[in-house]
């Protein structure tokens, strides 16, 4: 079982990202499950969403407490919350930032970075004030984690992005290429 936690802000599409990853995983032949942190949604407030991936049916229904990977859609969250909470030793952190992995000062984890904001804006996803980075970050996930191949991520995006399907897929593809792995 592989467990992923997404950190974003309300309105950024963290829940959709978790869902699309789950869909992509099923396309690859896995079982999966995705769910939001069951809160009251507020735009701009920190939100979490989760994806479980396994090669057999997933019966587990409790929250994810010890993820194998965390995905951070908004780097400003890192000053508000500890995104590594419960993260397994040697686990993977994927962050939307212009910085290089070694500049972020994490130790004991594998860190991958991608400037998903820039990529999203290049593909006209969202606005300068509110870029939609959730599809780009999935490209980075595929590169960094590798358990769900990029072609399945792209297919899941094309089928499930609520708008600008092709632009979203292209953004994920670009992010896949540009992701910097810190290991």
């Amino acid at each position: 079982m592989y467990e992923v936690r997404f950190h974003g802000r309300g309105g950024q599409g963290a829940v959709t990202a978790a869902n699309i990853l789950a869909i992509a995983a099923v396309k690859q032949g896995f079982y999966s499950q995705s769910f939001p942190y069951f809160g009251v949604e507020r735009r701009g407030a920190p939100v979490q969403a989760f994806t479980r991936i396994d090669d057999k049916r997933i019966d587990l229904r409790m929250n994810v407490y010890e993820p194998d990977a965390v995905v951070v859609l908004d780097p400003t969250l890192m000053s508000v919350i500890d995104v590594t909470q419960g993260l397994k030793e040697g686990g993977i952190i994927i962050i939307n930032t212009a910085k290089k992995p070694e500049e972020l000062g994490f130790s004991g984890y594998k860190v991958a970075t991608v400037n998903a904001t820039e990529i999203a804006l290049e593909h006209r996803l969202g606005s300068q004030a509110a870029p939609i980075v959730n599809t780009a970050i999935l490209g980075a996930y595929s590169k960094a984690v590798g358990n769900v191949k990029i072609e399945h991520v792209l297919e899941a995006i094309r089928e499930n992005a609520p708008a600008k399907k092709e632009e979203n897929a292209k953004a994920a593809e670009a992010a896949y290429e540009k992701t910097v792995l810190g290991w």
Binding site: V26, S32, F38, L60, R61, N63
Partner: protein, 398 residues
């Protein structure tokens, strides 16, 4: 075909595949997506039905009664306070013997205001004369949603049915389900023909009329008989479904029980986490098993006796509480065994209220008490994962 859907969508798809003709609904968290998805189906031309946007849940169930009495297939959905607002009308639906199917996003009741999962809302309606089904996952929500129509509409039953899906844990969780083909469901359900007297201006009849003391009890007894009959009809429908779709349903599902000293009784989504926990205990050589209750009304007494009679301790794990007594499932199970000479020790565990997560730690706390109960007396009712000290202090008991 594999589809990735939320629990709410499993109810919406069940209604679509059952070719439900009228859907009166009022939105409430966490089941809002059910009417949302259905109105989308109707707008896209994928579903031929009338959506009735009413002004309250009381009106939703009233409109459902009107449509069902006219002789069409009706579905609706609600949760929590919405279900509570329907309360008086629920008895009218069952008393009039109308086979309405309602999806419930099982959620706590206020106060304090809480939108998250427990089973208090539908448990509070257990005496309303509706059949009650509880889903472990989204596949079950979809399948039970379809089967509920066939059971409810059977001439021997004619009772409304609720299909419960745990708030958020299922209603908002995306997972793969096998989506049956429309033609298969058409074949399974058959064309809807009301097996009851309907409202028809050409054949005037009075429905839901006055029942004087000379007749009222017979009407109530008829509902009792229908509920008893439903037990058989549910078995038949479950078996037919299994033959057609390959998925097995039973009113109660025993697992790992054959040699079990301790059997956990569960309902709804907690069953999956419990199964994983039991695998862990089994790996340590512990003789534990579980019985999942899928049908709570009619209460499957016979099957529960069969499944539980050889256990030493039965740990009832439930997400509801009848204040001043115990959890509802515990009470009913203990009563089921009241006249049996051979019976296990029953211990009740109140868990997961208002969305508190049911984790392996929760289940370990349950197990520890259940294990102790093998050799000594324990409390009848045990609240798990609760800060008792804080409560005692605030209630002035310290």
């Amino acid at each position: 075909m594999k589809a990735m859907i939320r629990g709410n969508e499993s109810i919406a798809y069940a209604f679509k595949l059952a070719r439900v003709q009228v859907v009166p609904a009022y939105p409430i968290t966490p089941s809002t997506l059910v009417p949302e998805k259905i109105s989308e189906f109707i707008a896209n031309g994928e579903m031929k039905a009338e959506f009735v946007p009413v002004e309250s849940e009381h009106s939703a169930i009233s409109a459902a009664i009107g449509a069902s009495a006219r002789g069409v297939r009706v579905g609706t959905a609600t949760a929590s306070q919405g279900l509570a607002l329907m309360h008086e009308v629920l008895f009218i639906a069952s008393g009039m013997r109308l086979p309405i199917v309602m999806g419930i996003g099982n959620r706590a009741l206020s106060a304090p205001i809480n939108i998250w999962c427990d089973h208090q809302d539908s448990m509070a309606e257990r005496d309303s004369g509706w059949m009650q089904f509880y889903s472990e996952n989204n596949q079950e929500g979809l399948d039970l949603g379809i089967m509920a129509f066939k059971i409810a509409e059977d001439k021997r039953v004619l009772l409304p049915a609720m299909v419960g899906l745990d708030a958020f844990v299922l209603t908002h969780t995306v997972e793969p389900v096998d989506m049956p083909e429309q033609s298969e469901v058409d074949d399974f359900l058959g064309e809807f023909k009301p097996n009851y007297v309907t409202l028809d201006p050409n054949k005037p009849a009075t429905l839901g009329s006055f029942g004087f003391p000379e007749h009222y009890t017979e009407f109530r007894f008829a509902q009792w008989v229908a509920m008893e009959q439903a037990k058989k009809v549910i078995d038949e429908v479950f078996e037919e479904f299994e033959k057609k779709f390959g998925r097995k349903y039973r009113k109660v599902m025993p697992e790992y029980t054959e040699d079990a000293d301790i059997i956990f009784v569960t309902m709804g989504s907690m069953s999956g986490t419990m199964r994983e926990y039991i695998k862990k205990l089994r790996a340590q050589g512990k003789k534990v098993g579980m019985v999942k209750i899928t049908v709570f009304r009619p209460f499957p007494k016979e099957e529960l006796i069969e499944a539980l009679q050889n256990a030493k301790v039965v740990a009832v794990v439930e997400r509801n509480i009848s204040m001043g007594f115990a959890g509802a499932v515990y009470g009913e199970l203990a009563a089921t065994f009241a006249n049996k000479s051979k019976k296990p020790k029953f211990v009740d565990f109140i868990v997961g209220l208002g969305g508190r997560d049911i984790t392996f730690n929760t289940l370990e706390s349950v197990y520890k008490v259940a294990e102790k109960a093998l050799t000594q007396d324990v409390d009848d009712v045990n609240w798990i994962d609760v800060n008792k000290e804080a409560v005692y202090k605030s209630e002035g008991l310290q």
